[in-house]
């Protein structure tokens, strides 16, 4: 056990070390931000419902060792995407044996920071950190302070990538606590079009990993990105995840996410509108059971006129778990003719579970259409009765209604193999949820 102050000191000492990527500009900025940052406490509004005390007492402060991983088990995690370029990181390190992306690597679409060409270095320095404010995100600042390596996905102008880019972050069982810090920078050139799939998964039980991840996305004018995210790790793992998106003129960003709770899981999704007529769709479902914890923090910064955003998140909370949703829409004074809608619907199934939701609107322009809604409820009595009146027993009826609730979001995932994988993972998740057991064993 260490104190949060020691934790910060140690983290700082580590990040101050010599970097092999001396050409990177970001670490110096991030280090300053992290030094100045106060680590969240219960009094920090943005972390009100998510205590990180336990995390900050745990001595994670060494990079996770790259153990040999059971390859067969690792491959079991993958979705059946035969033509996709697959990049696999185990405990934060690239695993070439499990990966398969040589085509795109040769074309310069996917590059490791450590092997970036001079042009790519310039590109990385130009975009890294532009969608992210490290002062507001201490863990992201920590991530960028300690930039040993990273992934660059650079989609060329006016091209549509035929196959999805599939990035898998795997945690393997570790004997001692350790951290993995990963980051992905996506730069889509004007008119580029691509699908990105991120999967956060784990192999083996008793996972002592603290995963601190940042994905930064910059969409140039007219670029389009479909983003599918699965966060389905084993529940002992701790994961703080930052997704920071910058949208320029006429760009289009669409996200479909499924996230399971774990000992500590925090998702920050930050979308910055930096050009007119950009559009953003965020679809997600979060689920928590046992004593899991999941915190979703969305922030949509509408800083330019004529943009639209549509956010719809669903929550499924049971047992003694706790889930949080915080969705903020911020319309800047100049962002006239914005249309922004946000919706959070939750199913709270257990007396000992807790759900806190806080949809926020902060509006400084008048010619806008904005709305948000939130609801917390249980399974609909009438629907249950409908099932039962047709001879389906109550337990099965409940299970079907729960599945129907979650499945709406699964069906929206624009990739059939990912839908199948999601359903498979959901099956595992529901397997020990009392209400759903019956149906799943049918």
């Amino acid at each position: 056990m260490i104190s949060p102050n020691d934790w910060k000191q140690q983290a700082q000492a580590q990040t101050g070390q010599e970097h092999s990527l001396h050409w990177l500009l970001q670490p110096a900025i991030a280090q300053a931000a992290f030094r100045a940052a106060e680590l969240p406490t219960r009094k920090t509004e943005r972390w009100k419902y998510t205590p990180v005390t336990a995390l900050l007492q745990q001595d994670f402060l060494q990079p996770a060792a790259v153990d040999s991983i059971d390859e067969a088990r690792a491959r079991d995690c993958f979705a059946d995407l035969p033509n996709a370029s697959r990049i696999v990181l185990v405990n934060g390190q690239l695993n070439r044996a499990l990966s398969d992306f040589s085509d795109l690597e040769n074309q310069g679409v996917i590059t490791l920071f450590s092997s970036a060409s001079p042009e790519q270095r310039e590109l990385i320095n130009m975009h890294l950190g532009t969608a992210l404010n490290p002062d507001k995100h201490p863990f992201a600042a920590l991530n960028y302070s300690n930039l040993q390596d990273g992934l660059l996905l650079h989609a060329p102008a006016l091209q549509k990538l035929a196959q999805p880019v599939y990035v898998v972050y795997l945690g393997s069982a570790l004997a001692t606590p350790a951290w993995a810090q990963t980051r992905l920078l996506v730069v889509a050139e004007p008119g580029a079009e691509l699908q990105l799939i991120e999967q956060f998964d784990s192999v083996g039980e008793q996972n002592n990993l603290f995963h601190n991840h940042v994905t930064e996305i910059v969409l140039q004018p007219n670029a389009r990105l479909q983003h599918i995210r699965l966060q389905v790790e084993q529940e002992a793992l701790r994961h703080i995840n930052g997704l920071h998106v910058k949208l320029t003129r006429d760009s289009h960003y669409e996200q479909h996410g499924i996230a399971f709770g774990s000992q500590l899981k925090r998702n920050d999704i930050n979308v910055n509108f930096a050009g007119e007529n950009a559009a953003c769709v965020l679809n997600g479902v979060f689920l928590s059971k046992h004593r899991q914890h999941i915190d979703n923090h969305l922030n949509l910064e509408h800083a330019t006129p004529l943009c639209t955003s549509n956010t719809a998140f669903k929550g499924f909370v049971t047992d003694e778990s706790r889930a949080i949703f915080n969705g903020r829409i911020h319309i800047h004074p100049q962002a006239q003719k914005t249309e922004a809608h946000l919706n959070n619907r939750n199913l709270l199934l257990s007396k000992k579970a807790e759900l806190d939701t806080k949809p926020e609107l902060e509006i400084y322009a008048d010619d806008v259409k904005c709305s948000h809604g939130a609801s917390i409820g249980q399974l609909d009595e009438k629907s249950l009765f409908y099932f039962q009146s047709r001879g389906i027993d109550k337990a099965s009826a409940e299970a079907m209604l729960c599945l129907g609730f979650v499945n709406e979001k699964v069906e929206q995932i624009p990739s059939e193999p990912m839908q199948l994988l999601a359903q498979h993972k959901l099956g595992q998740f529901f397997n020990d949820v009392e209400k759903l057991k019956t149906l799943w064993s049918l």
Binding site: E45, P333, Q336, N346, L348, L349, S350, K351, K352, A353, E354, L355, D356, T357, K358, P359, E360, L361, E362, I363, Y364, A365, D366, D367, V368, K369, C370, S371, H372, G373, A374, S375, I376, G377, Q378
Partner: protein, 481 residues
């Protein structure tokens, strides 16, 4: 009336209650220390326990920090530059009856349309009028006494009904509840006390009217309403202040207690001076209002129309402790020019089958900022709790802001909670439709705004609803075009 006159009439309308009354007053020098509290307590001839209670609050207040979480930047309030007590000077030891009150003061209330004689146009409403730090008169006392209802200034209640005051004062809003409540507990000077006995329906509407007159004073009134089992009361509150370039502080505390089967309906039309078009002057309205549904089947309903004050910081709340209790909050908050409002409610569900409804309408114009901040908390034992929240905001002009910060915390899986919020501007289509029919733009906006607020206005007692409608028109002055 010709059309030209009508427009002139509209334009010339502004804050009508902004005059100053010239009365000799007895005002304490600015500053706050234990001595000042002893003087205030002494002026009221308070018993020892009351003074102790105030001093305890003062000591707690000194340890507390100014809350800074609300969405409202403002210059620091210098708590030592405020005078904590001011009363119109009277020749004797305070007026025995309304006839003895300074005619200037009576004229003030007359001018404001508050009937202090019992045959006025609002006959049938009992009024307690508070001028700066003292209550200057209460009407219909005898008639209310017949029904067993106690309606008097709180300073009188402390002397005449100490058992009731001791039991309930601070029971809903404890001394150390928040910075401004602690300050109020230490220095409160007057306010109203209401007690409705068991199974009694209060025979008339009760009303308190607050008036700040003196310069550099703060008004700290304290209202305590206790509705005993099976009783019912409807209470109205109104307020105005002169137009001044200095900001003045108003930090009130209102506590409501509803015992089993009791119902309290509390309506406010808040029209403190909002400051001028450049944001100079106006009242800082930092108020703590909370009701406790202590008994089974009790009900507390807050209705507020907030058009005044430079800054409004106010969250009338309901603690739903009794099973089957009901809490309601209906609010219209209008801000214009440089006004800031951060207002909303808290519904704390503790008992079983408790229900709450929140309807909040925010209208921002000019360069004002208007926030709804609310909390709905369902505790683990609040089985079958139900909440519905509706927050709508209307924006008039492109320099104002409208914000919504609802906190929803559910710890019981039997509860159903819904929250909806929308923000939009006055629709061009609606405006066009009105203008096409010969209604000018200002009138059309005022019609649309009135329609927008209808859901809340219908909860107000009739006289208030009319006044509220008029207030909106005045406050929106110059917001269009």
């Amino acid at each position: 009336m010709s059309k030209g006159n009508e427009i002139d009439d509209l334009i010339s309308r502004e804050y009508e209650a902004g005059f100053v009354t010239q009365v000799e007053s007895d005002t304490l020098p600015p500053g706050l220390n234990e001595e000042v509290i002893r003087i205030i307590s002494g002026k009221k001839n308070e018993p020892e326990w009351m003074l102790e209670w105030r001093l305890e609050a003062y000591r707690k207040w000194q340890q507390m920090d100014i809350p800074r979480w609300a969405q409202m930047p403002h210059p620091e309030v210098d708590f030592n530059a405020i005078s904590y007590y001011s009363s119109p000077k009277s020749k004797k030891n305070g007026p025995k009856s309304l006839d003895e009150v300074d005619p200037e003061v009576l004229a003030t209330f007359e001018k404001l349309g508050i009937p202090l004689h019992e045959r006025g146009k609002l006959a049938g409403v009992a009024v307690d009028a508070v001028f700066d730090s003292v209550s200057i008169g209460t009407t219909y006392k005898e008639e209310l006494a017949k029904a067993g209802v106690i309606f008097c200034p709180i300073s009188e209640a402390i002397k005449d009904h100490p058992e009731l005051v001791r039991k309930y004062l601070g029971s809903v809003v404890p001394q150390q509840d928040n910075f401004y409540a602690a300050l109020n507990s230490a220095v409160f000077s007057d306010g109203s006390f209401v007690y409705i006995p068991k199974n009694t329906r209060c025979p008339m509407e009760l009303s308190t009217y607050f008036r700040i007159n003196e310069l550099n004073t703060g008004q700290f009134e304290r209202t305590l309403i206790v509705a005993d089992e099976g009783s019912h009361v409807s209470y109205l509150e109104g307020c105005t202040a002169p137009m001044r370039d200095e900001n003045q502080l108003h930090a009130a505390v209102v506590e409501l207690v509803a015992l089993g089967d009791a119902q309290i309906k509390y309506s406010t039309v808040q029209n403190w001076y909002p400051g001028d078009a450049n944001g100079k002057g106006g009242i800082y309205n930092f108020v703590t209002k909370r009701g406790l549904c202590a008994g089974v089947n009790s009900k507390i309903s807050w209705t507020q129309v907030e058009t005044g004050s430079a800054i409004t910081w106010k969250y009338p709340s309901v603690v739903l402790r009794g099973d089957n209790s009901v809490g309601e909050f209906y609010s219209v908050a209008l801000t214009n020019n440089f006004q800031q409002a951060d207002t909303g409610t808290k519904m704390i569900h503790l008992g079983k089958n408790t229900k709450s409804t929140i309807v909040s309408k925010g209208i921002s114009a000019g360069r004002s900022q208007n926030s709804y901040r609310g909390l709905v908390r369902i505790s683990p034992r609040a089985d079958n709790a139900r909440n519905h929240t509706q927050c709508d905001s209307l924006l008039i002009g492109d320099r104002c802001g409208a914000h919504t910060f609802p906190y929803i915390e559910a710890k019981n899986s039997d509860s159903i909670i819904e929250h909806e919020a929308t923000t939009s501007k006055v629709s061009d289509d609606q405006l066009f439709l009105c203008r096409q029919r010969g209604i000018d733009e200002e009138k059309a906006v005022s019609m649309i705004v009135n329609g927008f607020c209808k859901e809340v206005f219908k909860e107000l007692p009739m006289e208030f609803a009319v006044e509220a409608g008029k207030l909106l028109e005045v406050s929106l002055e110059g917001a269009v075009g």
